[in-house]
């Protein structure tokens, strides 16, 4: 005979779980609920909207179509125009350029901080981080003041013939790049600093001892050790840079729009939710693609070892 049926089937069920499992379920539940409600469901909604038709007042409605994507690709009632494609390419280019330049600035900076005396290190890191405590908009306005016509920087650029007379360095693509670099520098410096701080210098000495010139010792013994930090920083910089809204909005003027501005304008203006959703979806896919590529690169460069991004 089997044992008597419990009058409380649920209780019997929960008793069959080990205390550890129950504990785990309780502790992850709030997080799971949060992610489902505020990430999974809205994302699904967004994906749905991207495939819907734009209604007369900009609201999404049935039937399901690919109209939003063809609009994003530039097809409208007036035939094809490259505007949106330019925006997409500009976003990619600005992201690549800014990330690359941030690496160029942050790499030596992080190294320099890591070899400083202990009491200076915290101070130097603070100096890197402190600007990001100020509101993004205010910082962008700061740059506007620095780059507008008549400022020393603008005059200097005029003197070298980089811009025409009575012009400013803002609004321009250059100002956007500068703004992105300025904004995201700390996100590159910090992971790189962490990598440099635990750098095993014995490996560098071993490489030097085994006939590697200083340059090759850097490439073969230092760089691989900083690679995880570099990849982490690249992710932290490039993903938000790709979807950046404030910097191109304020420093770019109308002609330096990035994908984030395009998406925002479709929602905020209430003009075309499906188009905005399609833009956001493309952004998401590009991000996933980028992350995947980085993992591959990281894996190859570190010789098959898993690089956690």
């Amino acid at each position: 005979m089997s044992k008597p049926e419990s009058p409380y089937p649920l209780a019997a069920h929960s008793r069959s779980l080990s205390p550890d499992t129950r504990h785990l379920l309780w502790s992850v539940a709030p997080g799971v609920i949060w992610i489902v409600v505020f990430l999974v469901l809205p994302s699904l909604y967004l994906i749905g909207v991207a495939f819907m038709t734009n209604g007369p007042y900009g609201q999404p409605q049935m039937p399901l179509t690919l109209d939003a994507f063809s609009q994003l690709a530039g097809f409208g009632f007036l035939g094809w125009s490259p505007g949106n494609l330019y925006t997409l390419l500009r976003s990619l280019w600005q992201t690549l350029l800014a990330t690359g330049l941030v690496i160029l600035v942050a790499y030596p900076l992080a190294y320099r901080i890591s070899i400083s005396r202990e009491k200076w290190r915290a101070l130097m890191l603070l100096a890197v981080v402190v600007p990001s405590w100020t509101n993004q908009v205010i910082r962008a306005f700061g740059w506007m003041n620095l780059l507008s016509p008549g400022t020393p920087l603008a005059e200097l650029a005029q003197f070298f013939g980089l811009i025409g007379p009575n012009m400013g360095l803002y609004p321009s693509n250059f100002a956007v790049t500068l703004g992105l670099i300025y904004n995201f520098l700390p996100f590159m410096v910090l992971p790189l600093y962490a990598a440099f701080e635990k750098l095993d210098y014995a490996l560098v000495e071993a490489a030097r001892d085994l006939y590697a010139s200083p340059l090759r010792a850097f490439w073969l013994a230092v760089f691989p050790q900083t690679l995880p930090g570099l990849l982490a920083g690249t992710v932290l910089v490039s993903i938000p840079a790709f979807g950046m809204y404030v910097v191109p909005e304020l420093l770019g003027g109308g002609r330096a729009m990035m994908l984030g501005n395009l998406v925002a304008s479709q929602f905020a203006g209430g003009s075309n939710w499906p188009l905005g959703a399609a833009g956001a979806l493309i952004m998401l896919l590009a991000t996933f693609g980028g992350l995947f590529a980085m993992r591959r690169i990281g894996k190859r460069l570190s010789g098959g070892e898993e690089v956690v991004i």
Binding site: E205, A206, R208, D209, L210, Y211, A212, S213
Partner: protein, 369 residues
């Protein structure tokens, strides 16, 4: 590293002493910061094909000296020549010197094979030749099965072998070893000591070995330099350094404890806290101060005193049974004297026993304080 006479790769030079590998250090000084002196005037000649050990406590300057040989540190003063060529300011990648690091410093992102091939690749050795030499050293050091492993999949002893192979494959004039055995357990260490010493003898390469373990130094070395405070205290073959230490520091570092200050001298009689002892011959004028060393193992405990020996009366205060030998802590005239007796199956003295201590005059060594 294990030597089997049949499988001897012919490209590895055997018993050939390379004249290019003699080392001369002249008046080397090295300071770190303002007042931390690591080396304070080191003069040293290391012969070609020698197994030479730098021995001393931590902070004595031995590792700094090794790093100067490798080119990883530059001396503040003095010069360094290898094979008659001044290399004082030559950067490490242009010296025919390789190092086995204390931490091994293997490249974690490379396989065992690529770690070993690293030096040859940097030197620009052609791929085929490189493969051949890597394979050869892998056979020599018995690494065959590990070649495709990653470094973090190796045990301590295996890492040590890879580090050694990585350095040896470059066939340097001089191989530097920075306490390469200190991280290993005692059994493996003893085994590798023997293997390392055999390898060196077989290759005829100059080895400069750093350690703080005097037994390790004695087992492996042709000659030992004992360092303290950035100064070389004594250089010599293990037997000389052990049996005739030049001063109290070297004596204590080599493990001796029975050191007694000389109070007064008359002829061949010397008075110390232990009482009056007769030496083999009278001390010279300049030797009439300093200390006397009586090695633990030369002390005889027995009822009969051999002819001509010094005889002292003592009491056993402590006995340490170590299997192959027995250590006694004796009290003689209120002074502690340690004696070691081989365990030959004789009756052991018990704590509290009165014993007669005999010391041959020949075995009493005078040294500087």
């Amino acid at each position: 590293m294990t030597v089997s006479p049949s499988a001897e790769p012919d490209a590895v030079d055997t018993q050939r002493v390379r004249d290019a590998s003699a080392i001369a250090l002249r008046n080397l000084h090295k300071r770190f910061g303002r007042d931390a002196v690591a080396l304070d005037g080191v003069d040293l000649d290391i012969h070609a094909g020698e197994f030479f050990t730098l021995l001393g406590p931590s902070g004595c300057g031995k590792t700094t000296l090794l790093r100067i040989l490798a080119g990883l540190e530059a001396p503040n003063e003095g010069s360094l020549t290898i094979g008659g060529k001044d290399v004082t300011t030559t950067p490490p990648h242009l010296r025919s010197v390789n190092t086995v690091f204390q931490s091994y410093a293997l490249f974690p992102h490379l396989s065992v094979h690529d770690n070993i091939a690293f030096g040859l690749r940097m030197k620009g050795v052609a791929a085929a030749e490189r493969e051949r030499r890597v394979q050869e050293i892998a056979d020599f050091i018995k690494l065959g099965a590990l070649m495709e492993r990653r470094v973090n999949q190796l045990s301590g002893g295996q890492r040590q072998r890879v580090a050694l192979a990585r350095a040896l494959v470059c066939e340097p004039d001089v191989l530097l070893l920075d306490e390469p055995l200190s991280a290993l357990d005692a059994g493996l260490r003893n085994q590798l000591q023997v293997e390392l010493q055999r390898t060196q003898k077989r290759l005829g390469m100059t080895f400069v070995f750093v350690t703080h373990d005097q037994e390790e130094a004695m087992v492996m070395s042709d000659r030992i330099a004992v360092l303290d405070g950035g100064v070389i205290q004594q250089v010599g073959p293990p037997q000389t350094v052990y049996e005739h230490p030049i001063n109290a520091f070297v004596a204590r570092f080599m493990g001796h404890v029975n050191l007694f200050e000389i109070d007064s001298v008359s002829g061949d009689r010397v008075t110390t806290a232990l009482g009056q002892l007769r030496l083999e011959q009278p001390l010279a004028e300049h030797e009439r101060h300093g200390m006397l060393l009586i090695r633990q193992e030369v002390i005889e405990l027995g009822p009969e005193v051999p002819e001509g020996y010094n005889a002292l009366e003592g009491v056993v205060r402590e006995r340490l049974y170590r299997g192959s030998r027995v250590e006694y802590r004796l009290e003689v005239d209120g002074v502690v004297l340690l004696a070691t007796a081989s365990n030959l199956g004789q009756r052991l003295h018990a704590v509290g026993d009165r014993v007669t201590v005999s010391i041959c005059p020949e075995d009493i060594v005078r040294l500087d304080a």
